[in-house]
């Protein structure tokens, strides 16, 4: 359960990070604003994940936290890629 929660937190945090990047925003037709919620979420959610992982024994907690960063990032990257495709802009790379 802790692994799953950490994975979700990292996935959402990195998704927010991705949504704040100018290149990805252009691909998704998102304006050039700097929304507060994603900026806060990308800072807070990794700490929530760390807090959850800290309930595990050391060094398992660190490995799970770092491992879920990698897998969460891959999932977030996949979601963004699908979203770009869904918005019908595959030819505008």
């Amino acid at each position: 359960m802790i692994v799953l929660v950490s994975l979700i937190c990292w996935g959402l945090a990195l998704l927010c990070h991705g949504l704040l990047q100018p290149k990805i925003r252009r691909l998704l037709y998102i304006g050039s604003g700097r929304p507060v919620v994603p900026r806060v979420a990308r800072l807070v959610l990794p700490l929530v994940a760390l807090g959850m992982c800290a309930r595990l024994e050391m060094p398992l907690s660190i490995l799970v936290w770092v491992g879920t960063f990698s897998v969460g990032g891959l999932l977030a990257g996949g979601v963004l890629a699908v979203e770009v495709f869904r918005r019908g802009r595959p030819g505008r790379f």
Binding site: L15, G18, Q21, K23, L27, P59, L60, S70, L74, G77
Partner: protein, 484 residues
Amino acid sequence: MRDILRNRMGWLHAWVGFVGGLVLVVAFTGGTLALFDTEITRWMEPELAALPEAAMTGEALDHAGAQVWALREKGQNVFLNLPSARDPVLRILHYDGHAFVGPVLDPRDGTALNSRETRGGQLFFDLHQSLYRGPVWGNLVTEAAGIGLIVAVISGVIIHFRNLVPNLLLFRPFAAPGRAWLDAHLVAGVLLLPFIIMMAYTGAVIHAPRLFPMIGAGHAARPAGRPDAGMRVVGPYAPLAPMLAQAEDIFGRGRIGFVMFGTGTVSFYRADAADFAMTRDHADFSAGDGRLVGVERIGRGMPRLGGAMRGLHFIRWGTPALRWLYFVCSVVGSMMMAAGLGLFLMKHRRVHGGTFRLALAETLALAVTLGLPLASLGYLWGSRLLPPELVHRADRETGVFFLVWLVALLHAGMRCLGGAVRPAWREQACAIAVLGCGLPILDVVSRAETAFRLRADVYLAVDACALGFGLLALWGQRVIVRAR
């Protein structure tokens, strides 16, 4: 100045990455499968599927001990592996030069279970650490490639440094092929950076004594049939069960992994899964009267640090969830390296297209990228198709693996030298799809009496992974067709 550095690092990354990558894809793929070596071994022993879950009894341990002593009196260098959560049977093992193999015993009474002879998942462990070429040349090549990985990672970070954070998730699979492969390589490489650095570093540290033999202790495992000097001892021997109880009092219940038999002594070693630091703590008993004669624990300092490095790398102490995390990261890491090989070839096709050198590079890249997974699936198919009672069965099974890999290499060579690079990739992807998607069917057919008891066990996990990789290959070959 910065661009000159990036250009030079680009050259270094490309060449070290390609030459080292040919070895590293093999080592990484082997390591990925070796994460579940015990589970793969169990999948390859379908006779054990019908065995009910049962705790080891004292009678079984004593019976197994008597068999080990009998074998040692014949001069065989064997030891006893105790049941664990991952492998709930007793095993009398010896090192055959590549893997620990031997008869499987029932944990209830210590009688032999007629399981087929196999190297199981340990083939992948051997492939990972020494490319199946033994502790000298094989290790040397993988260690050199491991250092190459560290060089490639550092140079890659320097090249990509400015875009490391902004482009962390920038993946455009529907862009032009070169762009899409570069994105995949970068996204996977950056997201897996902590994992890859950790594995490369711990792997290099673990094998440092072999890189610097003046401080190394050599290869610990000895093949069976080459007994230690003065190893032959004669009974009677004390029963093992009371010794195990004492050893568990020292190291904790269920924390003993295996039992070694020496000259007049029996040593109970702590399991690798017992602690994060993988040490060889053990309690020694007199073989004649079962008296405790000593306890050896690895203290703090360098030996324990070395154990921690091994623990991080081998992850035998990890929970199933952590092992799956490692597995996913390793699979993606292998794909990232394979994507790097593909990028190198795409870049050089423009200048060197049609030359023998490029065709050779294409052949080798294809043989390690798709040929190795194909051979691994062929190995699993061979395990179920070869007759269980075949003489030298483990060698034949391994032979199937290398034969399939050789056929994949020859196929890649013929097609790439003939200029049909894209069809070559597509055909091997199709072969993976057929073997991967067909493996669950083979499992059900060849394990008919237990196959329909659907539960989350090693059979379901291996079948699901094979099916997943088969479907991925099927999708991959469709992408190759569409990209014409």
